[in-house]
């Protein structure tokens, strides 16, 4: 398998590093070296069973970000803090603006450019950045390394110990038609409570860009963090997100993953429940239509005793699209007295669409409470009929039922923040698909 020429990537990495502190420049170099040495992952690896990694290899170095952001998402109230406690706006991986509500700035939480923070807040950033690369067996590490070498920027969110943010942190990220690499770091210190909403969209519906992004999430002891990812890229975009998280004693990580766009999506989400009492709830919804290919992979590792996880991923597939979901769950002997529940349900809206569900359970102790469920089916005819007897057209009845199927995740999006936008996108896509 031929890996595309490295030299432009090397020079791009060096150019990026020239503005970075030495420790970060060294980490970039190490990442690039690992990426170059390792070549591409083998398709025998489960992570790559459904998606050929060659399709994610950038043919060129990351494009220089456009300085013009373009129109803000219509529901993004720029410069107002009515709904968000802080916001950040990024373009092609580069933060253009970030601000914290001045009324709560005294709480000391940070939302800023990650590379700037690496220079100015080394003590906060260095111990955490890249720290999760080898968790969960280093799954997806190859592209994680690439994003380490090349990332043009990203957001650093830091919520100090004991701070409660009553409104979400809102991050809007737009990408264009080129190749972009970004990296973000979210740190929730002990006993804090916060919600972060990350919205990813394409500058133009027809943009066929590629985005590699890695997001590292640290949940401290007793902290409660919710992260909502809303991916509404154009249908020609390629997206390769790697989201890695680690949860400490009695911490709770709630993730809501909404994947609506992208022509090719290869997503990896790993959670290490590192200390007793750590908990993770992961909700995901995926909508695919046309010829789009969406491949979601999760890896939950109960590395400590008495940890718990609850995962519910749902996909609806239309047209000639394809979705695959692989849910890996590991409870080693060290994870005794843990509980883990996984469910993956798929709605197949057309005979020509396909949804695969692959549970991978690796449970090495009997002292656990575990369940998993997998179901793939068309829309229930009786439900459709019931709705139609009440005056809904066949198309409206279908929409209603599919939106209902997605509702458990949609209702977890903070009020006034994107939920209506997501429903609109879904309704539009469902209207076109039926």
């Amino acid at each position: 398998m031929s890996v595309s020429p490295l030299s432009p990537l090397v020079s791009a990495s060096l150019a990026r590093a020239s503005g970075d502190p030495d420790w970060l420049a060294a980490a970039r170099a190490a990442g690039l070296e690992r990426y170059a040495k390792g070549g591409l992952p083998s398709r025998a690896e489960h992570l790559w069973r459904y998606t050929d990694p060659v399709r994610l290899v950038p043919g060129s170095a990351p494009s220089d970000p456009e300085t013009r952001f373009g129109d803000l998402p219509p529901d993004f109230a720029d410069g107002t803090f009515e709904r968000a406690s802080a916001y950040a706006i990024a373009r092609d991986g580069v933060l253009l603006r970030a601000a914290v509500d001045p009324l709560i700035a005294h709480l000391g939480f940070l939302v800023e450019d990650l590379r700037a923070a690496a220079a100015s807040r080394r003590a906060l950033v260095e111990p955490r950045l890249f720290a999760l690369r080898d968790t969960c067996d280093g799954a997806g590490g190859r592209f994680d390394d690439l994003a380490a070498a090349l990332f043009t920027g990203g957001t650093f969110v830091h919520v100090p110990r004991g701070v409660t943010l009553d409104r979400p942190v809102r991050i809007a990220h737009r990408v264009g038609g080129g190749f972009a690499a970004s990296r973000s770091l979210v740190v929730a210190e002990a006993q804090c409570t916060a919600t972060v909403v990350i919205d990813l969209s394409s500058a133009a519906e027809t943009d066929a860009g590629t985005l590699h992004e890695t997001i590292e999430i640290h949940v401290g002891r007793g902290a409660e963090l919710r992260v909502v990812f809303v991916q509404r890229l154009g249908d020609r975009a390629t997206h390769a997100p790697v989201v890695r998280s680690r949860v400490e004693r009695d911490g709770v990580l709630d993730t809501v993953t909404v994947a609506l766009g992208g022509g090719l999506v290869k997503s990896l989400q790993t959670v290490e429940l590192a200390e007793p009492g750590a908990r993770a709830n992961a909700l995901g919804i995926v909508f695919a239509d046309g010829r789009r290919h969406l491949d979601h992979h999760t890896f939950l590792d109960h590395a400590a005793p008495s940890t718990s996880s609850d995962l519910d991923y749902r996909a609806a597939v239309a047209g000639r699209s394809r979705s695959s979901f692989t849910g890996r769950l590991r409870i080693p002997a060290a994870g005794a007295r843990s509980s883990a529940h996984q469910s993956n349900r798929n709605l197949v809206l057309a005979d020509t669409a396909r949804a695969d569900a692959i549970p991978e359970l690796e449970i090495l102790t009997n002292d656990v409470s575990c369940s998993h469920a997998v179901a793939t089916s068309p829309i229930d005819e009786e439900q459709l009929h019931f709705a139609m007897t009440r005056g809904l057209s066949p198309a409206d009845a279908r929409k209603l039922i599919v939106l209902g199927f997605f509702e458990p995740a949609l209702e977890k999006i903070p009020p006034g923040m994107l939920a209506d936008g997501v429903r609109e996108v879904l309704e539009r896509k469902l209207g076109a698909a039926s």
């Binding site: 007897t389 809904l392 209603l400 939106l403």
Partner: protein, 258 residues
């Protein structure tokens, strides 16, 4: 009422068979039913389990699992066969299901709103919708929080029937078909349901009350009663036929019985 208007519902020699998933048509369940229901009247259709009551209810509403194999069913003079399900609702038909479906993730308020919009063909302004719903909720003894739940999801039997009544009252159907709306209800719930049906009665509307037991007919007095046995109407009469069935059972009406 002028008899020159076509009846609300006119079934003549209606024959219905089930359609299997593979498309094959099974043995006839309804074997030639004739019945005329005029506006302003309530008819009761009685029959023991398996006699074909739900089949008739379902075929009137256009359930895809049943096929009309003979005869006709006319609503206001128009043959219903081939009319899409949602169009039947828009023409004023309503079926209260014996087993209403749960719609997980679909909020009650949203469902009702979309339904009213579909049937009326125009959006209902919130200003009009909210007080209307409130009025019916109070009459049905349903708490306001009901509106934020998911349709029939985790509802008790009584709650499901109240939900159906709420929906019926909002849509004000010209012809309501109620399939065993009384089964499994305690007396208080039964009275609430009967009261809803009575509220709907008017010279323009009609109701077909499908039931196993006579009990609900003490509260909703029918103009005509039909007894269905093995897919055929074996006897029609006035309200007292229901009481006779109650005391004597169905056996004496069976073919060949003395």
């Amino acid at each position: 009422m002028s008899t020159s208007h076509p009846p609300l519902l006119e079934l003549s020699d209606l024959r219905v068979a089930p359609v299997a998933d593979d498309g094959s048509v099974g043995k006839e369940i309804l074997k030639g039913i004739s019945l005329t229901l005029r506006a302003g009247t309530v008819h009761a259709l009685m029959g023991r389990n398996g006699s074909g009551k739900s089949t008739l209810s379902a075929v009137l509403m256009g359930h895809p699992k049943f096929r009309v194999t003979g005869g006709s069913m006319k609503y206001l003079g128009e043959d219903l066969t081939g009319i899409p399900v949602h169009e039947r609702a828009r023409k004023g038909l309503f079926l209260c299901f014996q087993y209403p479906m749960a719609l997980p993730g679909v909020g009650v308020a949203q469902f009702l709103r979309q339904s009213v919009k579909g049937v009326r063909g125009a959006d209902v302004p919130s200003k009009e919708f909210r007080p209307l719903v409130k009025k019916h909720l109070e009459a049905l003894g349903i708490p306001q929080t009901f509106m934020t739940r998911y349709v029939n999801d985790g509802f008790s039997g009584g709650e499901k029937k109240r939900m159906e009544m709420l929906h019926m009252l909002l849509l004000e159907p010209r012809l309501a078909i109620l399939d065993e709306v009384d089964s499994g209800l305690d007396v208080d719930a039964l009275k609430v349901v009967a009261e809803s049906i009575n509220r709907l009665r008017s010279p323009e509307r009609g109701q077909l009350l499908v039931t196993h037991y006579q009990r609900i007919l003490d509260y909703v007095v029918p103009d005509e009663v039909h007894v269905l046995l093995d897919g055929e109407i074996v006897r029609s009469g006035a309200a007292d036929l229901a009481r006779e069935v109650e005391s004597r059972g169905y056996e004496w009406l069976a073919k060949g019985a003395a």
